[in-house]
């Protein structure tokens, strides 16, 4: 089997900070609030920055002013039954640096809610509505948090892992 092991993996925060001391996004977050940066990982050429749950809107504004201007999408992963259950992944591209970063927020199962980043990037509007609809995670401060894919009176959140995929509803 031919593989190319050109990509390095840096599993934790200290190794990432050591390898990328000048990374604009990391530098901006550390300069703003070091405790918001709870973890980091570099894998398969992508930098994942884990942000404390309460800090995501301010962190989004921070990386935006650090040059990561183009919001791509936000989605969730349901790690049921482990805790914390939900992982939110924000993908942001920089047009000037030609690079992608991922902000990651871990959300608990009980009362899953985070701050909306729609005030920072209006383009996050539909994506947050989609996560709300399909995962049931609320976004505080979202201007219009309604279901978007499913009918308004739908029960449950289909992309959750414990949502039944067969049988009668």
């Amino acid at each position: 089997m031919t593989t190319h092991k050109t990509q390095i993996t840096l599993p934790d925060k200290s190794s990432v900070l050591e390898a990328f001391p000048d990374h604009p996004a990391l530098k901006a977050i550390l300069a703003w609030k070091p405790e918001a940066l709870t973890d980091a990982r570099f894998d398969r050429g992508e930098l994942t920055i884990t942000i404390a749950q309460d800090d995501i809107r301010a962190a989004a504004a921070t990386v935006q002013s650090a040059g990561y201007n183009a919001f791509q999408d936000v989605t969730a992963v349901d790690w049921y039954p482990s805790t914390p259950r939900f992982q939110l992944s924000y993908h942001i591209v920089s047009h000037s640096l030609k690079e992608l970063i991922r902000l990651r927020v871990l959300v608990d199962e009980a009362d899953p809610s985070v701050e909306s980043i729609t005030p920072v990037w209006p383009g996050a509007n539909y994506y947050e509505r989609e996560v709300f609809d399909l995962f049931g995670i609320r976004f505080e401060g979202h201007p219009n948090l309604r279901r978007i894919m499913m009918p308004d009176d739908w029960q449950g959140h289909p992309l959750r892992k414990d949502y039944p995929v067969e049988g009668y509803r």
């Binding site: 089997m1 190319h4 047009h95 690079e99 209006p122 201007p143 219009n144 309604r146």
Partner: protein, 406 residues
């Protein structure tokens, strides 16, 4: 199992009691100019659009959920159905994401054929856009011309994959099979006449004052709004942002091709119309380069536990038969991790976010589709304009409801 109903509606944006001069009008979901089942709720004052609210989800089929129940290789045919006008772009994006998860190297010839077919897909998609966009505006003739050339492209697709639309030709690890012998000649003869055809469409429309007046100055989107609203692709470049993933974050050997990225600063429907014409000409250049420099070699990665063996080998060699049996019945395990792969699809930046937990089925597949984000800019572009302009703007952002609703 108990489910919570979710939060009640926080705010209803439209029809919360318009004044007695305003009227709420439903456009679609069966309106012919909405390209599928897009429903627009419009609040209008006479003929002026005061507010606009897209209501989507009529075509929601839960493809992302379905992906979680399939083996990695079984997801490829599902990606065709996401955007039925550019199936190869979806195939490519998904395959690249999984190949990065697997850390799998793809032979050069396969990468070049992928580029060639991706650009043909771009032509295919732009031809459908041009025909239907002109038809929405009232120029019915062009539709017949563009579909004539689209038919040639679909025949080329049928030649390589056996299918006209749901191609599934790109597989994890390369291509499903070698292209047939006269494939390159067929593409060459198509592409040698295609620039004249582009001029022909241009002659039919660009000089037409009625068509130009319907588009010029309509649906203005500023560069700042385009980036803020996550608009990508031709609408973003028509607003003056010079960014193309093919050039700026290359994938699948695009860095070896020489092409220009057309940019305009006008930001209106006319700019988007002109820009897609330029894109078609650039695609022709890329295809010509791909034909001229096509490398030799295999079209599948040398990874017998991931890539299905050739039919001949499978029938004659015990080991290949075992590999074939194992891949089909058990799939292949993909190392745990997450990858977001972005590509420049005909409509903008497409991204597949694939999360693996180390098993043979993807733990999560998320599709970032370009027109889903572009749809958010519709209100900005239509506000304060005439109702008839909405049709022109919807046509100019080139929506496909299959990829919006998924």
């Amino acid at each position: 199992m108990a489910f919570d109903v979710g939060t009640p509606i926080l705010e209803v944006p439209v029809a919360e009691g318009p004044s007695d001069q305003h009227m709420v009008l439903n456009m679609g979901p069966q309106h012919p100019s909405t390209h599928g089942v897009l429903r627009l709720v419009l609040e209008i004052d006479g003929e002026i659009v005061v507010r606009l609210y897209p209501e989507i989800g009529y075509l929601h089929t839960g493809i992302e959920k379905t992906c979680e129940a399939k083996f990695y290789q079984q997801v490829v045919p599902l990606t065709d159905r996401v955007d039925y006008l550019s199936p190869m772009a979806n195939n490519l994006c998904y395959c690249l994401a999984v190949e990065r998860l697997l850390d799998l190297e793809i032979p050069e010839k396969a990468q070049w054929i992928r580029v060639l077919l991706s650009e043909l897909t771009r032509l295919n998609s732009h031809l459908v856009w041009l025909g239907t966009h002109a038809m929405d505006i009232g120029a019915l003739t062009v539709f017949l011309y563009t579909f004539r050339e689209r038919e040639d492209i679909l025949r080329i697709f049928e030649m390589v994959s056996g299918q006209r639309m749901m191609t599934s030709y790109f597989r994890i690890g390369g291509l499903s099979m070698e292209p047939p012998l006269d494939f390159f000649d067929r593409v060459r003869s198509f592409i040698s006449t295609f620039p004249e055809k582009i001029d022909e469409y241009s002659n039919l429309l660009t000089g037409n004052p009625i068509f130009a007046n319907r588009l010029k100055g309509v649906g203005y989107l500023s560069a700042a709004d385009a980036v803020a609203l996550a608009v990508t692709g031709p609408p973003m470049r028509a607003s003056g942002i010079d960014f193309d993933l093919r050039r700026d974050m290359p994938y699948s050997s695009y860095e070896k091709f020489d092409f220009k990225v057309p940019v305009s600063t006008d930001g209106d429907c006319w700019a988007r119309y002109r820009l897609r014409f330029e894109e078609m000409r650039e695609s022709v250049k890329i295809i010509e380069q791909a034909l001229a420099g096509m490398p030799e070699g295999p079209v599948k990665a040398n990874a017998p536990k991931i890539v299905l063996p050739d039919r001949e080998q499978m029938k004659t060699q015990m080991e290949s038969l075992i590999h074939h049996f194992k891949i089909v019945t058990e799939g292949f395990a993909v190392p745990a991790g997450e990858v977001y792969q972005g590509i420049e699809s005909p409509r903008g930046q497409m991204g597949y976010y694939v999360v693996s937990d180390g098993t043979a089925k993807p733990y999560r597949v998320h599709m970032r589709n370009p027109t889903y984000a572009t749809l958010q800019s519709l209100e900005t572009m239509c506000k304060g304009r005439m109702l008839a302009d909405v049709v022109a703007v919807v046509g100019s952002i080139d929506i496909v409801l299959g990829e919006i609703d998924r």
